[in-house]
């Protein structure tokens, strides 16, 4: 043990020995972090400067991989699909989870059961979700959605085969999958609001709606910011559902950035190009996070 080694060496003072022991507690986690996170992060930046299949000789390209992205039509289609997906998922998820949290928070009997129910999608694998929704969205009378529409006299649709409906259909899954998670965050935020603040407004004669709009909502601002940032991070990384359900089609309408990076790297073996794209994704997430935090920062 390092502790006994420290005792035998008189050159180490008591404080130094304590510092050494303290540091030793961090070492296992640090080794794992450096090997599988920090070093890969730097390595990836390096790879993005090369043309490389992962096996053969790598050719140095400078910033050419990044330059090529600008003229790559598929990259822009992927960017478009990703941004559209995020624009559909983030507002709807935020709103749905806020409504769910407010209603659960009314303290009515039995509402905790709903809290558990809306949480079940959150704990489910996106692969399971994709397989099940794929079945629900099937064309003809096979899919549940078309069957239910048929029962109320509406025409069915080939949801995943139409480039206008494929991405919204996937966005619906995204909202359905995550809103239970965000409503837990909103519930925590709501429970942090001192009850006196609302009561004071109510005594002043404010209606329920006024109390919500002028008291509750401003105090929820940090939670709204958090939920929208987490929503953006998740939306920009959507992969599993696209991989299982559409493989990017039809006509690249669901070809999101995460899927393009994966296919370039592991089907096309263009490791350099894919790495450059992953850094663009990283940068986009950072920029969007900063913008969101700026817009939603608490008014001072």
């Amino acid at each position: 043990m390092a502790v006994t080694a420290g005792i035998r060496r008189p050159s180490l003072s008591r404080t130094q020995r304590r510092a050494l022991v303290s540091f030793l507690f961090v070492v296992p986690a640090l080794v794992l972090f450096l090997t599988f996170l920090a070093i890969p992060l730097v390595y990836s930046a390096g790879i993005s400067l090369f043309r490389w299949t992962g096996m053969s000789e790598a050719t140095f390209m400078g910033l050419d991989n990044y330059g090529r992205l600008l003229t790559d039509n598929v990259f822009w289609l992927s960017m478009k699909a990703t941004v559209l997906y995020a624009l559909m998922v983030i507002p709807v998820t935020t709103l749905a989870s806020l409504v769910a949290a407010i209603f659960v928070n009314q303290g009515l009997r039995g509402t905790n059961v709903f809290k558990s129910l809306i949480f079940i999608p959150v704990i489910t694998s996106s692969v399971v979700i994709a397989v099940v929704w794929n079945f629900i969205y099937q064309g003809g009378d096979v899919g549940l959605l078309n069957a239910v529409l048929g029962l109320v006299g509406l025409p069915g649709h080939v949801w995943m085969g139409d480039m206008l409906t494929a991405l919204p259909a996937i966005a619906v899954i995204g909202v359905w999958h995550r809103f239970g998670w965000f409503s837990v965050l909103f519930l925590a935020g709501l429970q942090d609001i001192p009850i006196e603040q609302r009561e004071a407004a109510e005594i002043d004669g404010a209606s329920q709606w006024q109390v919500f709009w002028h008291v509750t909502l401003p105090l929820l601002r940090p939670t709204i910011a958090l939920v929208m940032v987490l929503g953006a991070i998740q939306s920009f990384q959507v992969f599993d559902v696209v991989f299982i359900m559409t493989e990017g089609g039809p006509y690249y309408s669901t070809h999101v950035l995460g899927y393009y990076i994966w296919t370039e790297a592991f089907r096309g073996l263009r490791m350099g190009y894919a790495s450059a794209m992953s850094y663009i994704l990283f940068g986009s997430i950072m920029i969007i996070t900063l913008i969101q935090l700026r817009i939603l920062r608490p008014a001072t």
Partner: protein, 292 residues
Amino acid sequence: MATATEVARIRGRSWLERWVRFGVRATGIYVVLALMGITSLLPFFWMLSSSLKDRESLFEYPPQFIPAEPTLANYTFLFAQTNILRYTLNTAIVTVGVTAVVIILGSMAGYSFAKLEFPGRNFLFFGMLGGLMVPFEVLMIPLFILVVRMKLANTFPGIILPMAAGPFGIFVMRQYLLSIPDELLDAARVDGASEFTVFWRIVMPMSKPAVAALGTLIAIGAWNMFIWPLIVTSKEEMRVLTLAISILQLEYRGLYGTMMAAATVAFVPALAIFLLFQRYFVQGIALSGLKG
């Protein structure tokens, strides 16, 4: 601001009016919540119900929500024709492995960052915390090359270790341990306990709620993870359930009953973990929101 008449209007409501208003509001709330609850559950109900149907009733119109003649044929077929038991075992091994590594290393490092001193401690902590921001897409290519070079592709350590390297566990444990009073630890130190004894005998037993919350969160994530096993596994016998289902989906295209049975097999254990540890899970989610 309220005028006197408005106040009078609210105060002046009869008990009957107030009671009716409350009833209407409560009904509205219940209806919305029930709709959300049903929407959340319906796909799972449909998955289970379809997995118990034979091929004819699967495509019957109008659809049967409860199978008229439930059959286990899809499950028998699944267990006979595929290695689904092996995939389930693999998933369990990966889940236990990732959870154990995150909890043990996270508690040790979290303890040091919260309660011990060494030069550069805070710098190191915030440096590692920055790792939370890195999307997996940036790491997956070098990780794949690294793990192949380390001859860890298609092995459990190769699947587990990269998934357990993130700083989330350290962060959660540190936040929790900051709330433990120093006096308690100092008392043990005065009695001559080594730092390791303090950690193992005092800190760990006190951390049970945090360990439960963190463990539940990590276990569910590990059970469900897909993209890393997809990248690092090429051998059939090393597949986890999510990967196996994504491949079965291609092989059994159109065999919806079998696919729904496979989805149910992957879903039920995650549901069981959630139902058993629900309380801790919700705490963990609140922690993941970077709340105190």
